[in-house]
């Protein structure tokens, strides 16, 4: 009887003691391990080097200030070479072998789509996938309850750009150059919404990823009489398109989705890039936004190479802020479920770079607005407030 009573008391103590301390993978007394899958050796390896460096800059700052609830944040990065199959293998390794607490910033629409089943199966959250595809916040998709998007989707960006163009010039003839893949598909979705809501027909021209010549597309837009052209490309494409148009004596007003916001676009395009206006889902890294000021301070403090500083490094930095906020809200004894619940309490949360972020059980989009940035005399200048 004494034995049974002792066992009962011991069990009771254990249950009471651990009530809030359910152990989660990747969480120890003094450390939280985060998993990140980047393109370290494929076509987007440039971002693969810069994004995690930006995130680590913020983690270093947080760690030096005591970490999250006394735990240091450590990030393990795997390579997927922008290959969805490799992304699946990398995510599996991080979750099953390395036992990471959550995934964060996995880059690319296709890789993120490919790892949905693993997220669902293991219950691992994915915070701030590094893609602006609106599909990331589509709550009808698999594992959507575990994915927290921070960026305004390409579809919404395109729709906002079209609305903005028509607000400026009701007679505008709009053209669109898009990448013929998942990215372009999401852009076309936004274009279709804009077409049905405004009644305007958009001239669409596709290109294959890796294309180096846009003479055909530019000539077509010229023939179609487009006065305003949206370029849904990355960095090279807007430069070549604008230079080609300038060489042909064709001068529409050019716009771009967020990946074209890179400051090298205006640098490399030169006079042809003057007036180029892009949509961005966050404040500029060199602006007066609170997060941007902190970012520059830390870059200088930790002697970040100048080549790294810019929108993508800053993007890694500000998404790390969202993750850290989620970890804070997950409490002293975090579990994956508590991270999800914690993030879902973000209500108009302002980290000083993204527009105010709101998540709920039924909405993981986070933000729905952008700022427009125009190249004026070679300098990127913010020309609007947050618009949606």
């Amino acid at each position: 009887m004494k034995k049974a009573t002792g066992l009962f008391i011991l069990t009771g103590l254990l249950v009471m003691g651990c009530g809030n301390r359910a152990s989660a993978p990747g969480v120890s007394e003094d450390k939280i391990l985060i998993g990140n899958v980047q393109d370290l050796s494929g076509p987007m390896k440039e971002l693969g080097a810069v994004l995690p460096a930006g995130s680590n800059l913020y983690f270093r700052y947080v760690n030096e200030n005591g970490g999250v609830h006394g735990r240091q944040i450590e990030m393990k990065v795997e390579d997927h070479q922008y290959n969805p199959q490799k992304a699946v293998a990398a995510a599996k390794k991080l979750i099953e072998k390395d036992q990471v607490f959550c995934l964060y910033q996995v880059i690319g629409t296709s890789p993120c789509e490919a790892i949905r089943p693993i997220l669902a199966e293991s219950g691992t959250p994915l915070v701030a996938p590094a893609t602006q595809s609106g599909s990331m916040s589509d709550m009808s998709r698999e594992a959507a309850d575990l994915i927290f998007h921070t960026d305004t989707g390409y579809d919404k960006q395109t729709r906002i750009l079209v609305d903005n163009i028509l607000a400026d010039n009701v007679n505008a003839k709009i053209g669109l150059i898009y990448q013929d893949d998942d990215y372009g598909e999401n852009v076309l979705k936004g274009a279709a919404v804009a077409e049905s809501s405004t009644g305007v027909a958009i001239q669409k021209e596709a290109y294959q990823r890796g294309a180096t010549d846009f003479a055909g597309q530019v000539a077509n837009l010229m023939k179609g009489g487009a006065t305003h052209v949206i370029i849904a490309g990355v960095v090279k494409e807007p430069i070549i398109v604008m230079k080609t148009a300038a060489a042909m004596g064709y001068a529409p007003k050019f716009y771009g989705t967020s990946p074209t916001m890179d400051h090298r676009v205006s640098l490399a395009a030169g006079p042809a890039g003057e007036g180029f206006t892009s949509a961005n889902f966050a404040s500029l890294w060199n602006s007066d936004a609170v997060a941007a000021v902190l970012y520059r301070e830390l870059c200088s403090k930790y002697e970040v190479p100048e080549a790294y500083m810019g929108m993508y490094h800053f993007y890694g930095f500000i998404t790390a802020q969202v993750l850290v906020e989620g970890l804070e809200r997950a409490g002293q004894y975090p579990t994956r479920e508590r991270l999800v619940n914690g993030l879902e309490t973000l209500n108009n949360w302002d980290g000083g770079a993204f527009p105010p972020i709101t998540y709920s059980q039924t909405d993981h989009a986070g933000t729905e607005s952008v700022i427009l940035v125009e190249v004026k005399e070679g300098v990127q200048t913010v020309i609007t407030d947050w618009i949606d």
């Binding site: 390896k45 180096t212 010549d213 055909g216 230079k243 090298r264």
Partner: protein, 308 residues
């Protein structure tokens, strides 16, 4: 009329793009012609050449202020010397040790070389894309409403000059004939007193030279320089096959056909026939298969009969 001018405009752009494919295909052809090996690192040789040229331009620029014609010429000369040494080293590292091994081993070695070169350049130059300088700036030439950029013009002219030079070299010089003989039968060539090893070395040097020149010309056309430039070599491969692997004329014609098809199908054809837009990525391959069905050795390829 508008369509006609559009077609001409797109064709010129396509010829410039095709000239780049042609120069890469020429690199494939040179090595294949002499050694019957397909060098899958040809695109990477081009990428290395572009980076080396960028290095020379920026090095002299920081000393002198900004890139002048003189700096571009010095950088070009420096890159050519580098290509010479690079080709020679590759012959020693890749070709000579594997000379008597099955061709498959050499091909695998060139694939490995391409991966190693991409990684090495990324390690040395860093992961960030660079903004290359163009000696022609944004200068254009306008003839009756048809516009051609000076850069495109220089690419086309360079391709023409290189083809003439190599054609002359292969058909009219002693070394050229020696290379052809080596390609036909290395053992017989050696017995006839041809220094086969030196011929192989020369081929790799020429190949590196062509690659470097195409890299220097292509970099400013791509607006940003990064290691993915090497992947363009894979686009030039079907051009070489279309023209007839091993034929210098074929490499050039194949490259230009590919470039023009790519540009026109994205342009005028897509504009008038919407369905073409849907199959832009496969149209080049359809043309390739169609040509190979009629001419299995490519447009200018020679049918080789070997006695068994």
């Amino acid at each position: 009329m508008e369509t006609f001018i559009g077609l001409i405009q797109e064709s010129i752009s396509g010829i410039a793009l095709g000239s780049i494919y042609a120069l890469i295909a020429l690199g494939f052809t040179l090595i294949y012609k002499a050694t019957e090996v397909v060098n899958f690192a040809q695109g990477e040789l081009m990428m290395v050449g572009a980076y080396v040229n960028f290095y020379f331009v920026t090095t002299f620029m920081t000393q002198n202020g900004e890139p002048t014609v003189g700096i571009f010429l010095i950088a070009f000369a420096g890159s050519i010397i580098f290509a010479f040494v690079f080709g020679w080293v590759l012959d020693w590292v890749i070709n000579r040790p594997l000379k008597d091994e099955p061709i498959f081993s050499v091909i695998m070695a060139t694939i490995s070389l391409s991966i190693i070169l991409r990684a090495l350049v990324a390690m040395i130059a860093g992961p960030m894309s660079l903004i290359p300088y163009s000696p022609f700036g944004n200068k254009i030439l306008s003839i009756n409403g048809i516009i051609i950029s000076m850069l495109d013009l220089s690419i086309i002219i360079s391709a023409i000059i290189l083809v003439i030079l190599f054609y002359y070299f292969f058909n009219k010089t002693k070394w050229g004939v020696a290379m052809q003989a080596t390609s036909e039968d290395p053992v017989a060539a050696q017995l006839m007193g041809i220094p086969v090893k030196r011929v192989y070395g020369l081929v790799w040097i020429f190949s590196a030279l062509v690659a470097t020149i195409s890299g220097i010309l292509l970099a400013p056309r791509m607006s940003l320089l990064d290691t993915s430039m090497g992947f363009l070599g894979l686009k030039a491969f079907p051009a070489a096959v279309l023209g007839g692997f091993g034929s210098i004329t074929g490499a050039i014609v194949g490259g230009i056909i590919m470039g023009v098809i790519e540009t026109i199908s994205m342009g005028t054809l897509s504009y008038h026939f919407g369905w073409i837009k849907e199959m832009n990525d496969i149209i080049v391959w359809i043309v390739l298969i169609a040509v190979l069905m009629v001419k299995p050795d490519g447009l200018f390829g020679e049918e080789k009969v070997k006695k068994v």
